[in-house]
């Protein structure tokens, strides 16, 4: 029990050292001590003169820091969403995008790229809005007689994903090849050339969504026992489930609208946490998933921007790491990864 507690505390604190070491990583080599001095000086003596070139500070504060922070909140968004959806749907194979958010966001981005290319922020706004639209469509389709049973939500999610993907295909068909490349790359998921702007737009939304799921983490335990049981125990299943799904969609849409579609984190991280901690109790699984998700994405992005001189799409890295790892988990645990 003590060991468990130590493990949990360590995992919860892990993002901090990873954040700092991520600031050491980058093609422009600045040695770690200098980075630390730069950080210290900004706190203690911001306006004074410095023994290092100004470009160092630009790199640390304008290029690396917002990007690492975006990876941090993005990791939280994707993994917490995955964990909460897996609890609410009572299924370990549920992925962050099961309600159609990725298809919606992709369609929104394609519309922005194809038809509103000149307007700044159009891609981001449209992908955020369409991600939500996809969720609401799924929810409405699944509703019957005032209830939204889990199986209906899953099926509706499949239908909505297919529908939005079909519309996306039509748009691609009518788009010139140059613009089309933009859509393809957008969907691959990348944190390249982001900055304080995108971070300040998405971080508050992600943190609000996270706060909601965090406060409901015990309630998700009860929901995971099944609709009828939860109802008999006194839970307003429809309302509570909707709140969790809404918070999850908020986090994911906000992040996807600036970073594209980065997969596997929502699937792999909560699983790993449940295995490591040996419990499905969301009171620890949710916060530890947030932590581990942040670490995973920060490390993946560190690789994406330092392995080659150009940018690798981070979505490709998370899949290359996530998919084999998931395969390994599946082999190890057989079909039931819960136990």
């Amino acid at each position: 029990m003590q060991k468990k507690r130590i493990l949990i505390s360590a995992l919860l604190l892990l993002p901090l050292p990873v954040l700092v070491t991520s600031l050491f990583v980058g093609i422009y080599s600045i040695d770690p001590f200098t980075v630390l001095s730069i950080l210290a000086k900004r706190v203690s003596d911001p306006l004074g003169s410095a023994p290092w070139p100004e470009v160092y500070e630009t790199i640390v504060f304008n290029i690396r820091m917002p990007r690492v922070l975006l990876a941090l909140v993005g990791g939280i968004a994707l993994s917490v969403s995955g964990a909460s959806l897996q609890g609410v749907f009572r299924n370990p194979l549920v992925d962050t995008y099961i309600l159609g958010v990725s298809a919606g966001a992709g369609l929104g981005a394609a519309i922005g790229i194809a038809y509103f290319a000149g307007i700044p922020g159009s891609v981001q706004f449209l992908s955020f809005a369409m991600g939500f639209a996809a969720f609401f469509t799924t929810y409405t389709v699944a509703k019957s007689k005032g209830e939204t049973p889990v199986i209906s939500l899953v099926l509706a999610g499949v239908i909505v994903t297919a529908l939005f993907s079909a519309i996306l295909s039509i748009i691609k068909f009518f788009t010139e090849s140059e613009k089309l490349a933009g859509v393809v790359y957008w969907m691959m998921g990348s944190l390249a050339v982001t900055g304080w702007g995108p971070l300040s737009q998405t971080a508050p939304l992600i943190l609000v969504g996270f706060a909601i799921v965090f406060l409901m983490r015990w309630r998700i335990n009860v929901l995971s026992m099944g609709d009828e049981e939860a109802k008999a125990l006194g839970v307003n299943v429809g309302r509570d489930r909707f709140v969790v799904l809404l918070a999850s969609t908020l986090m994911v849409s906000a992040f996807v609208s600036v970073a594209g579609i980065i997969g596997w984190i929502g699937l792999v991280v909560p699983h790993t946490v449940r295995m490591l901690l040996g419990t499905p109790d969301n009171r620890v699984v949710v916060p530890v998933s947030a932590s581990l998700g942040a670490v995973f994405l920060m490390v993946a992005d560190d690789l994406a921007r330092s392995v080659a001189s150009f940018e690798l799409p981070v979505g490709v890295i998370t899949t290359l790491v996530g998919a084999p790892f998931f395969l390994y988990l599946l082999k190890l645990r057989g079909g039931s990864a819960w136990k």
Partner: protein, 359 residues
Amino acid sequence: MITRSTYRCFFVKRSTKALIFAVMAIVVASSAGMLLAGGYLNGSSGVKIVDMSGRVVQLNSTANRVVILESYWTEIACALGAQDKIVGIGSYVTSSVFIPDSVKNKTVVGNVFSGVNIETVLSLKPDLVIMDYGYGKSEEIVRALEGAGVPVVTLFAKNFADIANATVIIGQALGKQDRAQALAGYINGIHSQLMANASRIPVAERPRVLICNLDVWKDGLIYTYSNTSWGNVVVDVGGINVAHAGFGDKSWVKVNMEQVLLWDPDIIVIVGRTQSALASQISSMNDTNWLSLRAVREGKVYPVLTGSYDRNSYLDWTPRMVAGELQLASIIQPAHFASVNWTSVRDQLMDGYYGYLKS
């Protein structure tokens, strides 16, 4: 004894004065800093460029270390003799055959679609970045680079005039103004003469031309150029673009065989980026549908290379376009342009401005 009022008179007055002094000092210092950074105190040694998106870019002097993201601007820089100034390139520059190896070996920094590694660019310590604008992540890249103090010149070519314009701007930026003016003047001269001659051709003598690509999407449809690039060149050199009737407002349109039969063009121009792409298109025209077209039966099907994957490509958004236009002119109006040997213009260009390819 220090009373409250003494404290107020003495300390507060003193500290207020100190505060005012400090504020003034900060204002003066930052103003000086801004003036210095803005180059206003530098005087007239700067270079002022208005790029193709209308941005005014102020450089301290012509650039000696430049990062260029697209192959066409890189090609122009080489044609101007500035290849030694290139320190970094975009992802797709390496696939152009009109760029010398010495440039292709430079550090790859990314591209406008999937993003640019800003740190890589900064580590190359460039004075300037030249890139496309208006699509992909161009906005974010420009913002990030300028935020880091790197000037950016953005360009975009939609027609022939843009190519000459871009050449002049690149010349200004890289300190090759004279050569740029010469090249621009050379291609403009040939181009305007071609346009003038072509405009005198009466409508009755203009053939109906279909310019298309058969395997862009591999879905059996014919990707036809209408109100865009090569589609308009066809008209400029004295032809009629069959797609302009009915699809004149579209850049391109995908049509099926029925539409082509309806059009019944006099001449078919097939475009592609590689010889094999052209060959496969030609062989796909061996079926009965195509053979029922008059143009095919009469042998009036002409493959033309575009882009920069093959040394024989001349239709592209670079100075080579002038040879490409002449190439199309000789296909579409062989009688009127019999005296103009497009291959000699091509050779002039290749031996002259593109001579760097021979070394």
